[in-house]
Symmetry: C2
Subunit: 123 residues, 2 copies
């Protein structure tokens, strides 16, 4: 397992992508062939469409901050399967969005990155 490596990648998403609005940093979060499966939209493949999705979603929801919590992580062959929780602060208030997710991680360029990313709301 590589919980420290996972934490480092999650921190890029929390601090650089959401915190500073640096969407180019998503290239160090997702693998080059990553897929995301957002609620209310079709599956999205590849880095540029994923960057566009997050840029638009962050703006539409006026996301202020986001915290990722790993609830479970299991290494299987070349991947890690993670179940986690995302708490999102938006213009509507702190913890306005309470999400759960499954991320399948894969190593690329010496780092563990998100390869398949699906989530939905808790309430």
């Amino acid at each position: 397992m590589s919980l420290d490596a996972m934490r480092a990648t999650n921190r890029i998403f929390e601090d650089e992508v959401v915190g500073r609005g640096d969407f180019a940093a998503l290239d160090r979060v997702y693998t080059s062939s990553a897929r995301i499966l957002p609620p209310g939209a079709a599956m999205i493949s590849g880095r540029e469409p994923i960057r566009t999705f997050w840029k638009e979603a962050a703006a539409a929801l006026q996301v202020k901050a986001l915290r990722l919590v790993t609830l479970e992580a299991q290494r299987e062959g070349d991947v890690i399967v993670e179940i986690g929780r995302a708490e999102v602060d938006t213009a509507a208030g702190p913890n306005a969005l309470d999400l759960k997710y499954v991320v399948v991680w894969r190593q690329e360029d010496g780092a563990w990155r998100w390869h398949i990313d699906i989530w939905n709301a808790n309430g």
Copy 2:
């Protein structure tokens, strides 16, 4: 890979669980320690709570039929990671629900079963 074994398990869900309303058949679909992550609810663990969830969901949505389509399946160590699509006919009409999902499969009692199951709507 075990696409035939996956198809057999998916058919239990389509035909026995949804088709005939036999929720006990879910014990042959999910592993004994399975988790489901439904939209709009907290994560649910274990067979009895999973049976209760599907019974209530099928009744609430008046589900008539459901078709599962595997879009991608990759063996990793002891698991298979599947990305798929579910087309659901409800009282509102055919294909009233268009869902995508990620299922992490694991072998139990000689069969491939759903171990982690998360989904959301496409539109």
